[in-house]
């Protein structure tokens, strides 16, 4: 009978809290730097967009007459940068697309309240709207998985977590040392296969 393998945890990745990605130069498009700290560009911009969206909603609904059609069109139109973004890997555009995505999400998540109590629409209308949005949102998520721009691909330093950037962290513990040794035994030309 074969020996049972125990899954062990690789020691600390070295990510600073909120960065979600290695902070090496290859990942610069995935990071925002503030006060010498790295933050995940996608998450930071998206959640900022959500906050901006909620605040904007409060201001708009208090000060202006809002049309239901404009509300719905706006929530879908704000997804356009996200649709385009996989083909346009420019950092500034990525920031814009994530902000717009966050604002769009705030509109959808508030839709139950606004569509029912403010626009006086029934639950079925809300269901159609949210279902349509969910289908589009899921499609965009799958598109991102297909077109994911992985900085580790073709990186001369290796593939995270087995790359030179993380090697110093691997060596800090017994568990990581074994991996580091295996990489070194392969004479630095580690045969690494990535499965997403």
């Amino acid at each position: 009978m074969g020996e049972k393998l125990k899954i062990e945890n690789i020691p600390t990745s070295g990510f600073s809290k909120g960065s979600h990605h290695p902070t090496c130069p290859r990942h610069h498009n995935h990071l925002i730097w503030y006060n010498n700290r790295a933050y995940c560009l996608g998450c930071t911009c998206m959640y900022s967009g959500v906050v901006i969206g909620f605040l904007s909603l409060i201001i708009f609904f208090l000060k202006y007459e809002v049309n239901i059609k404009h509300y719905i069109i706006c929530s879908f139109a704000l997804l356009i940068p996200t649709i385009i973004q996989p083909w346009l890997q420019i950092k500034s555009f990525k920031i814009l697309s994530r902000l717009c995505l966050g604002i769009s999400l705030s509109l959808v998540s508030s839709s139950f309240y606004f569509m029912h109590w403010y626009f006086n629409h029934n639950f079925f209308d809300i269901l159609i709207y949210m279902s349509s949005y969910s289908i589009l949102g899921y499609s965009l998520y799958m598109l991102r998985k297909i077109k994911f721009n992985d900085p580790c691909v073709n990186c001369p330093e290796g593939v995270y977590p087995l790359c030179n950037w993380n090697l110093k962290n691997l060596k800090t513990s017994d568990v990581g040392c074994e991996i580091a040794s295996a990489i070194e035994v392969s004479n630095g030309k580690s045969d690494i296969l990535i499965i997403d």
Partner: protein, 60 residues
Amino acid sequence: MYKFVIMRGGCGQNEYDIEKCEQISNKMSGEGWNLVQVYQENTSSCCSTKHSLVMIFKNG
């Protein structure tokens, strides 16, 4: 010689699929590579922790 297979999780991605791990292990075994160790790496994202799996295979 060693071969490393990384099954990715991370910010905005899904966790690794155990069924896929099995398929890869069986495929590598068929090619003469033995699974010697498995490691898990935990990447925190805003809402949860996504796990990546590192499988190390040895020839012969």
